[in-house]
């Protein structure tokens, strides 16, 4: 390639990079603002959030806190290549600090992320509003619409025998045949229907909450609620909800203490109340639970047949046919078996199954049963199962690129064994501060200066090539840092600055390899014009071999490791790639052009002078030999 063309390519890279710096990736503010890299926690401070374990009774074990710390750390790091700090304070608190203003990012970090796949077995509308205010029995189409059919599936869900519950709703279409798929799931759920059975693991103050709830509601209403075997049907009697009015005053924890049946059947318990239940309320794998589907319908969900631990790997994907983001799942081998079993059950369900009628009432029509994908307290989606799934599967839902990645990360990192309450996010000042930043930059200047002095002293004019390339590297690196800081959250810490200072030296190293080669070639008696390409060919091999190793190191560490090490690997990879860019697109063409000038031969100008002199004096008698 013509040297001019390589320089043009470099120029293009440069222009594109700086256009990106100024105009792309959410650039805003004045020109100087756009030129600011994202500085790390140690240099400019950031935001700190405190998460306190909300487990009742004894504080969580140290092991659990450690696991929680690690998972939270993984999640923070998944947000971008920033160096966050996650420490355990005392015995039940985790403190997370992030660079810059990061309240949004800190919001969901402590989410437990317990993933559960549960068969959807019953639906009733979120009718608390109409139950409390029966004056308008059909206040909105959606609420009453979903309330109307709700009576049917609920019978199945709460009833002891699914066949019995299902048959009235479907007109007695034969109860025995579908039993294999329908009966196994609801059957065990009846055992969990004892009113006092606590669905959540924290039994400590469950009893207290239950007692409080009983007291609030009053014994009479309580007895009434206990007798319910199906959600109260407001479509026939709009006033039927009134006796249960007291339930609307229960707090989240109190609602959580109620049996799933009661949570589901009592019409005055709203979705808002269900959502206010403490974290972890519906995590229990072996019990039936009640949750809200998209804030509009209360649903009962069977016990969890497949859980997050069964997932081997999750990854965000763009479904191009639907043009929407999904999370693709690969199950572990036994998880795959369980998942196939669950989907078989849902797929093979017939109209007599409870889950089938539930789907009908939820979607209007039904072909198969639905499996709800539940993350902590939230149902992400409840798709109808279109086949027995034996390979990888996808979770659909209202995802965008960010939320899909977040969910995939959460699944990959595993669930946090402790439930946390998030405290307020606060600003936190820098640990090191500007003084150290200035010192770091001073060190960079000194380092660059020393290298430059050495280069000029040793290579004379060729030193200017080194100096120019280092300057170019620095500009490219800076541009990349600004841009990546904005798009990837790459933060520059003091260690990072030091790393780049070091890479200056390493970048200069590849010049030394080249120039020493050049010296060899000229020493051998070649003219600079022929020596440059030859030296280049040989040096290129060496430089590529050596840089391959560095890139390998960076890539492996970036993929495998986490935290600060990952950030370091990224910086190292970046600087090597930029170094190679400069070597190939700047130094080589410049040297080629340089070799064609007369000045190159002048010992005063080029650092090859002494070699040139020696070579020339020796060349006369022996040139024949050398050029042979």
């Amino acid at each position: 390639m013509h040297p001019g063309r390589q320089l043009a390519v470099l120029g293009l890279v440069f222009v594109v990079l700086y256009l990106a710096v100024f105009f792309a990736g959410g650039a805003s503010g004045s020109f100087t603002d756009r030129l600011k890299p994202k500085l790390g926690l140690d240099l400019v401070g950031g935001t700190q959030a405190t998460y306190i374990a909300s487990q009742a009774g004894a504080p969580p074990t140290q092991e659990a806190m450690k696991t929680a710390q690690e998972i939270i750390e993984s999640r923070v790091n998944a947000l971008g290549v920033s160096e966050a700090e996650v420490v355990i304070q005392g015995n039940n608190t985790i403190v997370v600090s992030l660079a810059g203003e990061a309240e949004d990012q800190l919001k969901d970090l402590s989410q437990a992320a317990n993933m559960r796949f549960r068969l959807l077995t019953g639906v009733t509308g979120d009718v608390s509003a109409s139950a409390l205010n029966p004056a308008s029995p059909t206040p909105s189409a959606s609420a009453s619409g979903s309330a109307a059919p709700s009576a049917e599936p609920s019978a199945a869900a709460s009833g002891a025998a699914p066949e019995v519950g299902a048959s009235p709703s479907t007109g007695g279409q034969g109860g025995g045949a579908p039993a294999p798929s329908g009966s196994p799931s609801p059957a065990p759920s009846t055992s969990a229907s004892a009113p006092a059975a606590a669905p959540a693991p924290q039994t400590g103050d469950m009893a207290a909450n239950l007692a409080a709830a009983k007291e609030k509601v009053g014994a009479e209403t309580w007895a009434l609620a206990e007798k319910l075997s199906a959600p109260v049907d407001l479509s026939t009697d709009p006033e039927a909800g009134l006796p249960f009015k007291a339930f609307s005053t229960l707090s989240g924890p109190e609602v959580a203490a109620l049996s799933p049946q009661m949570q589901f059947n009592v019409p005055t318990i709203s979705c808002a109340q269900l959502n206010a239940r403490p974290n972890g309320s519906i995590d229990d794998i072996s019990s039936e639970v009640v949750a809200c589907y998209q804030g509009a319908a209360k649903v009962t969900l069977d016990k969890a047949e497949v859980i997050g631990d069964d997932i081997k790997e999750a990854s965000p994907q763009l479904d191009t046919t639907q043009n929407q983001w999904v999370v693709s799942l690969d199950f572990k081998s036994e998880g795959q078996t369980k998942w196939a079993e669950l989907t078989r059950k849902a797929f093979n369900a017939t109209t007599t199954d409870a889950c089938y009628t539930a789907v009908t009432s939820l979607y209007g029509t039904a072909e198969h049963c639905a499996v709800a994908v539940v993350l902590d307290k939230e149902i992400l989606s409840a798709p109808q199962i279109q086949g027995v799934l034996t390979g990888s599967s996808q979770i659909t839902g209202d995802f965008n690129a960010v939320s899909a990645k977040k969910l995939a990360d959460q699944l990959n990192f595993g669930a946090i064994p402790v439930n946390f309450e998030a405290g307020p996010a606060q600003t936190v000042s820098a640990t090191l501060g500007y003084e150290q930043l200035e010192a770091g930059l001073l060190a960079a200047a000194i380092g660059l200066g020393l290298v430059a002095v050495y280069a000029f002293f040793y290579y004379r004019l060729l030193g200017s090539v080194i100096f120019l390339s280092l300057g170019l590297s620095a500009l490219l690196t800076f541009g990349a840092l600004v841009f990546l800081g904005r798009t990837m959250g790459f933060t520059v810490t003091l260690a990072g600055i030091a790393g780049f200072i070091v890479s200056l030296g390493v970048a200069a190293d590849s010049f030394v390899i080249y120039f020493e080669r050049l010296k060899d070639e000229i020493h051998e008696g070649r003219s600079p014009r022929s020596a440059v390409p030859r030296a280049w060919n040989r040096a290129r091999r060496t430089i590529i071999s050596a840089n391959t190793i560095t890139i390998l190191c960076a890539a492996v560490l970036y993929i495998v490791s986490i935290g600060a090490v990952q950030g370091f690997a990224f910086a190292m990879g970046l600087s090597v790639v930029l170094d190679l860019l400069v070597v190939f697109l700047f130094r080589h063409p410049i040297m080629t052009m340089f070799a064609n000038t007369k000045a190159f031969m002048s010992p005063r100008v080029s650092g090859l002078g002494r070699v040139l002199r020696t070579a020339q004096t020796e060349e006369t008698p022996s040139s024949r030999v050398k050029e042979a």
Partner: protein, 394 residues
């Protein structure tokens, strides 16, 4: 100019220092240093920073008892209080949490025992005129999770496997072993120095340590690249033994090694100077120190360890063994001859052979050859005057 100075000879790649020939010495030195390093690591361990070992944090209000503290005040007071009870404790810089009057300062220090914490707390409370409940203390875990170390080590192992595979493909297994041995030597010695001197190990140190990894291998690869070039088809000629050819390569890249070592160490020196000299402690010093030690060792070991290991391994290879024997036999048979003459003849003859049999390595006496060449003004053998890579052309 009877004999150019060492600098000039270095500059022209003609230093001709016998490095590979003294490999037994280097191995002995390396072995002693490794034993020392492992010993000191086993006995003394490392002085781990707060980021690794966790510690104690003190939190005090920014505005209390009618005055407002600055970040420096808070840091000073807490540092003094802690040092009064535990002079060896490390105290990190204070951090302000929140803004305005409701903000507080947190100061993290190395782990203190419960009575020490009480004493320090009392001192802080007394000095600032606060009430005891306004100052809180907490045990703080390590910020550097165990998982980070685990994953980093996993990454390291994977990297080493891949790099060995790469070196085997790119060079050969003996070179891979040599490179790996030299790398492990670097890392062990650096760790040993850290343990022996008792420098504090912080996350910055670990990062620096990983930087050495790439750098040390980089150096070795450059040397081996030259060795490979010089020894290609060596068995076809009979001018030099493998060890001598390797030594020549090392000499030829010596200037480069020193140059790059210097060029890379200059900025690191700047870091260390600024970090340790102006700021006293902190990230810059930690990084500068580990890099200075590690990179310095990397340059040295690529010269005096990697290449000797390679030649020792190569000498075991039957083909090379036979070749070495042949070279030595030939040399012995010519020993009656005047050495310079012999060299000259060979140089002249060698114009077309793959390895022009110049002289560099044949005479283990360092520096002998260039001097002879120049003095005899034997220009006919000019080839001998440019040992630097010039030798082999193709």
């Amino acid at each position: 100019m009877a004999r150019p100075g060492l600098a000039t000879r270095l500059y022209q790649g003609e230093a001709n220092i016998n490095i590979v020939g003294r490999r037994k010495t280097w191995f002995l030195v390396a072995a002693l240093l490794v034993v020392f390093s492992i010993g000191t690591i086993a006995i003394r361990g490392f002085h781990l920073g707060i980021e690794f070992s966790g510690g104690t944090s003190f939190t005090l209000p920014a505005a209390a008892a009618g005055k407002t503290l600055t970040q420096d005040d808070a840091e000073d007071v807490v540092t003094r209080a802690i040092h009064a009870v535990q002079p060896d404790a490390t105290v990190l810089a204070a951090q302000q949490i929140g803004t305005g009057d409701s903000s507080s300062f947190t100061v993290r220090a190395s782990a203190l025992s419960a009575p020490e914490v009480e004493k320090a707390k009392t001192a802080i409370v007394g000095e600032l005129g606060l009430t005891a409940d306004q100052v809180s203390d907490n045990q703080v875990s390590s910020a550097w999770g165990g998982a980070v170390t685990e994953k980093a080590i996993l990454g390291l192992v994977i990297f080493l496997i891949l790099v060995v595979a790469y070196l085997i493909v790119r060079f050969e297994w003996r070179m891979a072993v040599g490179a790996l041995a030299s790398l492990l030597l670097d890392l062990t010695l650096t760790a040993g120095i850290y343990s022996a001197v008792g420098f504090e190990v912080t996350p910055s140190t670990v990062i620096g340590f990983l930087t050495i990894l790439g750098y040390a291998l980089y150096d070795v690869v450059v040397v081996f690249d030259k060795v490979q070039e010089n020894t290609r088809g060596i068995t076809a000629g009979s001018g030099r033994t493998y060890a001598e050819a390797t030594n020549l390569a090392v000499n030829q890249t010596l200037m480069r090694s020193l140059n790059t070592g210097l060029v890379a160490l200059l900025p690191v020196g700047g870091l260390l100077f600024i970090g340790a000299g102006l700021l006293g402690a902190g990230t810059l010093k930690d990084l500068g120190l580990v890099l200075f030690v590690g990179m310095g060792l990397g340059v040295i070991s690529s010269i005096v360890f990697a290449a000797p290991v390679l030649s020792a391994l190569k000498d075991q290879e039957p083909k090379i063994k036979a070749h070495n024997a042949r070279v030595l036999a030939k040399r012995a048979s010519r020993s009656d001859d005047v050495a310079p003459r012999a060299e000259r003849t060979r140089s002249a003859d060698a114009t077309d052979s793959d390895e022009p049999a110049f002289v560099g390595g044949t005479t283990p006496r360092p520096g002998a050859r260039p001097a002879v060449k120049r003095n005899t003004t034997n220009r006919g053998g000019g080839a001998g005057n440019r040992p630097s890579g010039g030798g082999k052309r193709r």
